[in-house]
């Protein structure tokens, strides 16, 4: 009798718990459904011509948009790889540069840790646009960098370094600058959670500092490192604001093509194809990275 009661009570509680969970989840789920799933489904439908909005839309369901995108004459795949290359470069550089920042904050500083952390994220207090535009002032033909080079007689006055502004280099430089503080955070968190006794143990067992770093610190911070990489890679691959402002003709990226197709091209179908392709690739990469992170954290344990 008692066990039956207990079982019934447990069942009741489980049901109640499920009810509470469902209630708590419903708001965010609804939000996601309305503002993420539905729009993505709309874009997907547009990409196969299922929606007709403009007089120029065919309104006939077909895979022509996709076929054109993957077809031999398509320039967009090439542009996509160019963006992937740029984004990969930026991500690697950013992670390499942000790692020492995270390391320093997490393991070398004690009292001022959070003050310094604040300093790292201070640039976020300024408008993103302002920070990007400031680079124009620095990198122009008569900008800070070129003027300095001229005044130091390292460059003749009429021959500034022209690729400093409006080039792929500029886009990557500015993106790296923008993302470093952001990326230092997950690295900081993973290092900050590091069990210091492991470092002591390594030291007790005679490991050198380099060896300790390579065998203990680095593997344990790998999830943070990968998260940081994804943090940069995913948004920068579809980036369009920075290339628009400082990229010139060479810095044009995949995201700019999407923006152009939507805002002035009146070719929402091609734009949808490009956007969906980006989404699929990014989702695939996330799934891949997600697996990798999990495996590594388990292995580290």
């Amino acid at each position: 009798m008692a066990t039956e009661e207990a079982a019934a009570s447990a069942k009741h509680w489980r049901r109640r718990e499920r009810g509470v969970t469902a209630a708590l989840l419903s708001a965010p789920m609804l939000w996601l459904l309305l503002f993420f799933v539905a729009p993505v489904a709309y874009v997907a439908a547009y990409s196969v011509g299922a929606i007709k909005l403009f007089p120029t839309d065919t309104g006939v369901i077909s895979l022509d948009g996709w076929r054109h995108f993957f077809g031999g004459g398509s320039i967009y795949l090439g542009l996509f790889w160019k963006s992937v290359r740029m984004s990969l470069t930026v991500s690697v550089v950013v992670v390499l540069l942000a790692y020492p920042i995270g390391y320093f904050l997490a393991l070398c500083v004690r009292k001022l840790k959070y003050v310094l952390l604040l300093v790292v994220i201070v640039p976020f207090l300024t408008s993103f646009l302002l920070r990007v535009l400031a680079w124009k002032v620095m990198l122009g033909d008569k900008g800070v960098v070129n003027s300095l080079l001229v005044s130091l007689h390292l460059r003749p006055a009429n021959e500034p370094i022209e690729w400093l502004l409006y080039s792929q280099f500029t886009v990557m430089l500015v993106l790296a600058y923008v993302w470093i503080p952001f990326v230092a955070l997950p690295i900081f968190v993973s290092l900050d959670n590091l069990d210091r006794s492991l470092l002591e143990a390594a030291s007790d067992l005679g490991a050198s500092r380099v060896k300790t770093f390579l065998r203990v610190t680095l593997p344990l911070s790998l999830p943070g490192l990968i998260a940081a990489f994804v943090f940069v890679f995913v948004p920068t691959i579809g980036e369009f604001v920075t290339p628009l402002l400082v990229g010139g003709t060479n810095g044009y990226m995949y995201g700019n093509a999407i923006q152009d197709l939507f805002t002035r091209g009146l070719d929402w179908q091609s734009g949808s194809v490009l956007a969906m392709f980006l989404l699929i690739v990014v989702a695939g990469l996330m799934a891949l990275f997600g697996r990798y992170v999990q495996v590594r954290s388990v292995a580290a344990d």
Binding site: L129, G140, K142, T249, Y252, F262, G265, S270
Partner: protein, 391 residues
């Protein structure tokens, strides 16, 4: 992402305005030339005022869908208001609400997508038919616009679609290469070719719109740059793609082009008259070319939304824009022409009058000027242009 979109939208809004201004210069010349014929200011509107509730029953808060700096105060906060719609404000007590667009294509896209509500809109000539075909517009009743009689009747014809005055052309200007003569050799014949000249690699700026397609077509000598065949478009695309490496950047806002031109980062650019005015005021050595292919001339005008609740407000607003005062503001501050024939050219410096041919009654005549025309297959132009950008 949404924040960035918003920021970007704001920035874009700020940029587009220069282009409108360009139209002004051309207008003045034509105006001067055509003044005699101006008695033709009769009404072409047919919808009639009678079917609309009187002005004091209208909601006000006139929704103006326009370029940046054309009244919203981005460039001259006080002047824009007092000169462009001060009369309107005095007359109606209303303050217009501005929604801005970056360029004609973006404005039209927003309207089609239904993301903007407006009473009046201010596109350029080659887009008029698209707007009318969209079913979004209604003709003006020109008898409600007292200043209409001062507007150049010849230019008013460009605002007529399907036999009705759907648009009232106001500001006009040119598209032509502006070059820095300290660095660029202009001893030969003027041509758009200077924008594709290998010896000026890295010193050239194009505009960041599909207008470059017809500029390319014009230079390559196609029969009708505004209605090119697929073969011609492919030829222009390949040509532009092969010359793209010469271009330092493509401008979205003519003020960006001006800043770069002033700093001599670029010496050559696709230019509207505003940059000519700035270069003249800055004392630069420049030449605003009269290419052998012809300058492209543009005229932008105001249109009335079909479903407006502010019918009479809208007419008053247009009347304010059509005034001599508004015309002189556009000429004096933006170096654009205006279709009001009574505007006084002395508000513009002699250098600019000369460079733009404001005092030359034939400046707008073909083949010296080629009116920017309706492009029936603009979406196809845009596809080819997208390919140039992505190449």
């Amino acid at each position: 992402m949404t924040d960035i979109d918003r920021i970007l939208a704001e920035r874009y809004d700020r940029r587009g305005f220069m282009r409108m201004a360009g139209a002004t210069t051309l207008g003045a010349a034509v105006l001067a030339a055509c003044k005699k014929a101006e008695d033709n200011g009769s009404s072409t509107g047919t919808s009639g005022a009678a079917s609309h509730p009187p002005i004091d029953k209208e909601p006000g808060d006139l929704a103006v869908f326009d370029w940046s700096g054309y009244g919203n105060g981005d460039y001259y906060p006080n002047k824009e208001k007092s000169e462009l719609w001060g009369d309107y404000a005095n007359q109606t007590g209303d303050t217009p609400q501005f929604t801005l667009f970056e360029n004609d294509d973006a404005a039209y896209t927003k309207a089609v997508a239904g993301t903007v509500a407006f009473d009046v809109v201010h596109p350029c000539g080659y887009k008029y038919k698209d707007w009318v075909d969209l079913g979004a517009m209604q003709p003006w009743d020109t008898s409600l616009i007292p200043n209409y009689s001062q507007l150049n009747p010849k230019l008013m014809e460009s605002g007529v679609v399907d036999g009705q005055q759907y648009f009232v052309p106001l500001d006009w200007g040119f598209i032509a290469p502006l070059v820095n003569t300290d660095h660029v050799d202009v001893s030969g014949e003027d041509s758009f070719g200077v924008m594709f000249d290998d010896q000026y690699e890295g010193k050239i700026s194009w505009v960041d719109t599909s207008n470059m397609m017809y500029i390319g077509g014009l230079f390559l000598g196609v029969p009708d740059p505004f209605d090119m065949t697929d073969d011609e478009l492919a030829q222009v695309r390949d040509f532009l793609s092969s010359k793209k490496h010469l271009v330092k950047f493509m401008w979205n806002q003519s003020y960006d082009f001006w800043l770069s031109f002033k700093k001599e980062e670029v010496w050559i650019g696709y230019s509207w008259p505003d940059t000519v005015g700035y270069a003249d005021a800055a004392g630069m050595n420049y030449r605003y070319m009269e290419p052998k292919e012809g300058r492209v001339s543009w005229v932008c005008g105001m249109g009335l939304a079909k479903d407006t609740q502010n019918y009479f407000h809208a007419h008053d607003y247009l009347d304010s824009w059509a005034s001599k005062k508004a015309a002189e503001f556009l000429m004096g501050y933006y170096y654009y022409g205006h279709t009001n024939t009574t505007a006084d050219l002395s508000v513009v410096s002699p250098g600019v009058v000369d460079a733009l041919g404001l005092d030359d009654p034939t400046i707008l005549d073909p083949p010296r000027s080629i009116p920017e025309s309706y492009i029936p297959r603009r979406d196809v132009y845009q596809q080819y242009w997208s390919e140039v950008l992505a190449s």
